[in-house]
């Protein structure tokens, strides 16, 4: 805020900050409405893969696309704060841990009687066929998590690289101008 005698710092208003960063108001509002709905739809697609079209791979990609929409609307630094690198790494491994772990649980719980990934031996208190369906649900969730984390990690790597290159080009331009 400029003070009465002309000293003080000049702070940008929210509108000017947004324009300076290259973002648009309409896209921000629509994205902030759509992103939770996209994520809800993605979870729906993962779980309902057993009843209709869908499944782990499809739902995982839709979940990743919600993060990509966030990056496009709000910029990448904010997105990295929302999904930090440690969480991304952890989720990438967690999904396949669930998948391979369900198979190992099948062997261990039945003391080596059933084979790997034979879902009947899971210790769930339901009938046989429903145990198979629930085993499949666990596995689908695992696949969805891994696919989502991998897609966002790929996108972030490529987008950071471009951001670094743009910053390098800008700095070399400024350095050229200063000279």
């Amino acid at each position: 805020m400029t003070k009465a005698d002309g000293t003080g710092t000049y702070q940008l208003t929210a509108e000017e900050r947004r324009v300076a960063a290259g973002r648009d108001l309409i896209i921000e509002v629509i994205a902030s409405l759509m992103i939770p709905l996209i994520q809800l739809f993605a979870l729906y697609v993962i779980i309902h893969g057993a009843l209709g079209a869908g499944g782990g791979f499809q739902g995982g990609v839709i979940l990743a696309s919600s993060f990509i929409l966030y990056v496009i609307a709000f910029g990448i630094t904010g997105a990295r704060k929302r999904l930090p690198e440690s969480w991304n790494t952890g989720l990438q491994s967690l999904g396949v841990y669930i998948y391979a772990g369900v198979g190992l649980v099948c062997i261990l719980v039945s003391l080596g009687f059933v084979q790997y990934l034979n879902y009947w031996a899971l210790p769930l208190p339901v009938a046989y066929e429903m145990r198979r369906a629930m085993g499949m649900d666990f596995v689908e969730i695992g696949i969805g998590i891994t696919v989502m984390a991998t897609m966002t990690s790929l996108f972030f790597d490529l987008a950071w690289k471009e951001k670094e290159e743009r910053k390098e080009v800008k700095e070399s331009n400024e350095g050229g101008e200063k000279k």
């Binding site: 491994s93 396949v96 080596g112 084979q115 990934l117």
Partner: protein
């Protein structure tokens, strides 16, 4: 309790879980990544020795994944051929991991965690190809190890990226042809299981889709195993990869592709199909050209790793010549697939040692060309000693391991009656001598930095590589001679000859040939 039949799949699952754990635990501390990788591969090696023991003395392991019976579910079949390739693979992978600790600290210090995670996935993919009994499953694991290999070769950055990109394009085309062959077989028979296909295919040998599928399998796997006309990715990929990845690439990855071709042509398309058309004779001729071509191109190289890469092309020619002659030989000792399987182990030992020594020279003083290696024989005596042992083994001096391969191959050629191949083998021995002797002469007999008078007066201080890199080189170098003595005297403790014999009996070649 958990019986031994669960071991093959548990081996794969353990490796997968370790890869993911390296990725997560490395976030906390970098030192965990090497330790987890090393311990996992050690445990896997012990498990694979148990599997080999069980398969040799009790019978093959037959495991129905997810509990469904074979044409409907996936089957894991481990017989002696599988178990043998698995042990060779994991042994060389263990020595590579041991070697890589100091090497990767020196070359890529900031990428240690992801490097070991991708390395563990490479080992997973290779083991998965070896144990499976279902052709689509084999394709999935071929994809896993191919992707990991592309990433590992390119990990140094710079010109390695271009070399890996060429490998990526050619490898993807090869995998594409492979899956096209699987599709053809499926559309004609409806089944994806190897034993099932072997039972359904006999009346369909005249079917053009089946013949096209076999041709596509051979070409697709030839790209992955660097057989002569399709080898062009190999020299670049070897020259610019980190040293232990070159050792793994040349010693294991192209040999697992050879194993896949042997498994497909003998277990799915049985011997009766291969005798209908002179396919294997054509393969033997292509292999003979590969032997001469690789040796001649190796003489012309200045870069040490590139020379060893062309030498690999030549050695794959040896293995494919042995495979191509396997239908026409009937002796107990050298009949059937015995020379090919022996050379898989021998080549892994020799080339592993040679590439690791080349990496040691680069680690110590960044020496890439042969002419720069002058006088290193005195500065690094143990390393150059191991190089000499592996080099004389490649040339074929008795009683080393290379001599055993060549002599069995010559006997097989004599029995098959084609004396031109014997001339090819002897000529390539001579060419091997030319290019390896050049390196040995530069190492030991050329003068180093000290002038000609000082060499005899004052002792040169030895400046060896660290111990963790030296132990794998010494183990491989000494095994080149020790294993040769074991092969020659056929000590039955190791069970080497019973392994090859039971493989011959399974596929009905060699001395078990069914006379129609």
């Amino acid at each position: 309790m958990i019986g031994i039949e669960h071991l093959p799949v548990l081996l794969i699952v353990l490796s997968l879980l370790a890869a993911f754990t390296i990725f997560v635990a490395g976030w906390f501390d970098k030192k965990f990544s090497w330790a987890i990788s090393f311990i996992t591969i050690l445990v896997q090696l012990v498990m694979s020795i148990f599997i080999l023991n069980h398969v040799l003395f009790t019978g093959k392991i037959d495991y129905w994944l997810s509990g469904w019976r074979p044409p409907w579910g996936i089957q894991v079949v481990v017989d002696t051929l599988n178990a043998y390739v698995l042990v060779v693979l994991l042994f060389l992978a263990l020595l590579s991991v041991m070697y890589s600790k100091r090497n990767i600290q020196h070359e890529l210090p900031e990428k240690v965690i992801t490097y070991y995670a991708v390395y563990q996935l490479l080992v997973t993919g290779l083991c998965g190809v070896t144990i499976t009994g279902d052709i689509f499953n084999m394709y999935v694991f071929v994809e896993i190890f191919s992707l990991a290999a592309y990433a590992l070769i390119a990990s140094r950055g710079g010109i390695a990226l271009k070399a890996s990109f060429v490998y990526l394009v050619m490898g993807s085309i090869g995998a594409c042809l492979f899956v096209l062959g699987i599709g053809f077989l499926y559309s004609v028979t409806g089944s994806l299981n190897m034993a099932d296909l072997a039972a359904i295919l006999p009346p369909l040998y005249g079917n053009k889709m089946v013949q096209a599928a076999f041709a596509l399998f051979v070409v697709g796997l030839s790209i992955k195993m660097a057989l002569f006309p399709l080898h062009t990715w190999l020299p670049d990929a070897h020259s610019f990869a980190p040293a232990e990845i070159s050792a793994m690439l040349s010693g294991i990855i192209i040999e697992v592709s050879t194993y896949a071709l042997i498994r497909l042509s003998f277990s799915v398309f049985t011997v009766n199909f291969l005798k209908l058309l002179p396919i294997y004779d054509l393969l033997a001729w292509i292999a003979a050209i590969a032997i001469i071509y690789g040796s001649v191109m190796a003489i012309a190289q200045l870069n040490l790793k590139r020379m060893l890469a062309y030498s690999s092309v030549s050695q794959m020619g040896y293995i494919m010549l042995a495979v191509g002659l396997s239908l026409s030989t009937k002796h107990l000792l050298w009949g059937g697939l015995t020379p090919a399987l022996m050379h898989i182990l021998n080549h892994a030992l020799m080339k592993g040692c040679l590439f690791m020594v080349a990496g040691a020279f680069i680690y110590k003083a960044d020496l890439w060309n042969i002419t720069d290696l002058r006088g290193l024989g005195r500065k690094m005596p143990w390393t150059c000693g191991a190089f000499t042992m592996a080099a004389i083994s490649m040339i074929g001096v008795p009683p080393s391991v290379g001599f055993v391969s060549k002599i069995y191959l010559i006997f097989a050629v004599v029995e098959a009656g084609n004396f031109l191949f014997m001339a090819v083998i002897l000529l390539s021995t001579l060419l091997n001598l030319v290019y390896f002797w050049r390196v040995i002469e530069t190492l030991y007999m050329k003068v180093g930095e000290a002038g000609p008078h000082h060499e005899y007066e004052k002792p040169v201080k030895t400046d060896e590589i660290p111990l963790l890199m030296l132990i794998p080189i010494l183990i491989l170098g000494s095994l080149c001679i020790v294993m040769g003595i074991i092969w020659l005297t056929e000590i039955p403790i190791i069970g080497a000859v019973p392994i090859m014999d039971s493989v011959n009996k399974l596929f009905e070649i060699g001395r078990y040939t069914v006379v129609p």
